[in-house]
């Protein structure tokens, strides 16, 4: 092995080890906690860490700032819910179908939009997301603005395949964590593969990449498909967890911002950024909403918005750069 590679190989192995430790810690985290509010908070935080990582694959590693990811989230949620209510397909499988349809949607969106660059691309994704929202809102087959209630399948009891748990919410923690782990692993694999290097070239300078025979458009499409698939799976898990979906809760423009936000504040294009961002952001926004926002006073929004401004200005490379061992400092020293 080339001597310059060993540092990278060792670092990647260490990252995998750290991830395993983090996974174990997060897996046992809810066991001593019995209060529903906190458990729900943990599940949502982990789910958003996974969603932000899914976004990060397209937005961070490939540099395409999508502000329409709620579309893929919503498509995943709707496909799995419709498969269950209309065809009685268990959501355990419907989740994969939801991801596949979301990936197809991402390719369909990418085909016209990846010709656009910079802000033109970002705004086009906002618009595509909004079109999806309006169509679902007015489409009776998917329930229109009334949405879809996920039914309790009788005579089945507790079922992992149907993601149906009446007495205990803990299994959803397993799903959320498994989802987040899959997205992390996808990002880890991409970082080490040829794709990761190609995508970063596409991100940094598409013209230069092209002159080096990098196929820019197919690279973006591949990143979009993976990102869309994972986001759709997240949507399907969310649908089963909350038991009710409508366009407002799974397809709104607001959600399209909430999905990338943890990645942006934690560190775009990094392995740990999405998790760090979610751990800081989601509890903060949930707690301030439940303690300060109840009266509709807007104080929670002010804190939330102010925090986003501050972190973006003071830590443009993301909060995860504050962590001791995964920051860029070590890499800089190594090279």
């Amino acid at each position: 092995m080339h001597p310059a590679d060993t540092g990278i190989v060792r670092r990647r192995r260490r990252e995998l080890l750290v991830a395993a430790v983090v996974l174990v810690v997060l897996a046992v985290l809810p066991l001593p906690i019995h209060d529903t509010y906190t458990r729900n908070l943990i599940i949502i935080t982990i789910l958003f860490a996974g969603l932000a990582q899914a976004w990060n694959i397209l937005g961070g590693y490939c540099g395409q700032i999508s502000l329409g990811h709620a579309l893929y989230f919503g498509v995943g949620a709707y496909v799995s819910a419709l498969l269950l209510t209309r065809l009685n397909v268990p959501p355990g499988l419907g989740m994969l179908a939801g991801g596949a349809v979301a990936a197809a949607a991402a390719l369909l969106v990418g085909w016209p939009c990846f010709r656009l660059s910079g802000h033109y691309y970002a705004i086009a994704t906002v618009v595509v997301g909004e079109i999806g929202f309006l169509l679902f809102l007015n489409w009776d087959f998917v329930g229109g603005d009334a949405g879809i209630n996920i039914p309790y399948v009788r005579g089945l009891g507790e079922s992992w395949l149907y993601m149906q748990f009446r007495t205990d919410k803990l299994p959803y923690h397993v799903f959320a964590l498994g989802f987040a782990a899959v997205t992390w692993l996808a990002a880890w694999l991409i970082e080490g593969s040829r794709w990761g290097f190609v995508w970063r070239a596409v991100k940094d300078d598409p013209l230069a990449a092209r002159s080096l025979a990098v196929r820019v458009f197919p690279s973006k499409m591949a990143a979009a498909a993976i990102s869309g698939f994972l986001t759709g799976m997240g949507g399907a898990i969310y649908a089963q967890y909350v038991g009710y979906i409508d366009p407002d809760s799974v397809m709104s423009g607001q959600l399209s911002i909430l999905i990338p936000l943890p990645a942006v504040l934690g560190g775009v294009g990094t392995l740990w950024g999405p998790l760090v961002g979610a751990v800081v952001l989601i509890p903060l926004s949930e707690v301030s909403r439940s303690y300060l926002g109840g009266s509709g006073s807007g104080v929670d929004l002010m804190i939330y918005g102010g925090l986003i401004v501050l972190v973006a200005l003071l830590r443009p490379q993301g909060l995860s750069s504050l962590l001791p061992s995964f920051g860029k400092a070590r890499d800089a020293r190594a090279t």
């Binding site: 700032i65 502000l67 033109y120 423009g253 918005g305 986003i308």
Partner: protein
């Protein structure tokens, strides 16, 4: 369907289109100058509407006469935002594009929260303008006076923006847009020009806000919808192009009105978005965009 109904709807689309165009012009000006998309643009519109409401409520002065006051207030707000936040965001070396998006987005949430805190969530409206209740009858087509006045003011504001672009300041703006580093060599203070550009951009949306407030309800979330239309307008017309904003604004106003008439009112925005996607397929930089 009668010809009168069609003319009525088309006229309504035209009047609304002019307001869309003016809201978009402020956004386009800032983008063209420094490549920053202000995701708090809709909130600036909302602030202007509340400013008009508060001033009218406190003094009883007709909103029409408040235009210069609100425009001046918003000019100051725009300059302050540039000096406090954007200047810093531009000097970031890492991740600049994303930092800009999320700084202005965070600002938008902050302003929305502040509006909710001060005014609570309820809808407010100005209902004692001299214009209220009046209308113009053009051969059976009725044009409500507030909308008509708003459209006229928007046209005047556009003319003023064009006039500004011919002044010494306008030429400095143009030069800074062309090459933000070289202008320092000929004695132009880049940050001052950027700050003034932000002031001008938000003052423009301020004018639109006052006129809108004379016939549209005000609430902390009113900006979001207009902002979305404004982004589409700017991207459709081409970032940085004043003429593009005007043409695209009118096109969007008409598309929205006619989709509502012929297809379904709840799908009027889908019509707008479809036109936008169609144009971008053939002109990725918008109708008049060069950036």
């Amino acid at each position: 369907m009668t010809v009168t109904l069609f003319a009525q709807v088309a006229a309504g689309g035209l009047l609304m289109g002019l307001i869309y165009a003016l809201v978009a012009a402020g956004l386009s000006l800032i983008f063209g100058l420094m490549d920053v998309v202000n995701f708090a643009h809709g909130e600036m519109l909302m602030v202007a509407m509340y400013a008009a409401f508060v001033l009218w409520h406190a003094t009883g002065i007709d909103p029409l006469l408040l235009i210069p006051v609100v425009a001046l207030l918003l000019f100051g707000a725009g300059m302050a935002i540039y000096r406090l936040l954007i200047q810093r965001a531009l000097s970031v070396t890492f991740n600049r594009g994303m930092v800009q998006i999320f700084v202005t987005f965070g600002l938008a949430i902050l302003i929305r929260g502040a509006a909710q805190f001060v005014f609570s969530g309820e809808f407010k409206s100005i209902n004692a303008s001299w214009l209220n209740g009046k209308r113009l009858d053009l051969a059976g087509v009725f044009l409500p006076a507030p909308q008509l006045a708003a459209a006229l003011v928007c046209l005047i504001a556009f003319a003023l923006l064009l006039a500004v672009s011919r002044t010494e300041f306008g030429r400095a703006l143009e030069a800074t847009r062309e090459d933000r580093d070289a202008v320092g060599l000929i004695g132009i203070d880049r940050d001052r020009i950027f700050a003034l550009g932000w002031g001008l951009g938000t003052a423009t949306v301020g004018v639109a806000g006052v006129m809108l407030a004379s016939f549209y309800y005000v609430s902390p979330n009113v900006g979001a919808n207009f902002a979305l239309i404004a982004y589409v307008t700017v991207a459709l017309g081409g970032f940085g192009s004043l003429l593009g904003a005007l043409v695209a604004g009118l096109l969007i106003g008409e598309t929205e009105a006619l989709t509502a008439l012929f297809v379904d009112p709840s799908l009027k925005q889908v019509g707008v978005f479809a036109i936008y996607m169609l144009v971008l397929m053939f002109r990725p930089r918008g109708l008049f965009g060069t950036l």
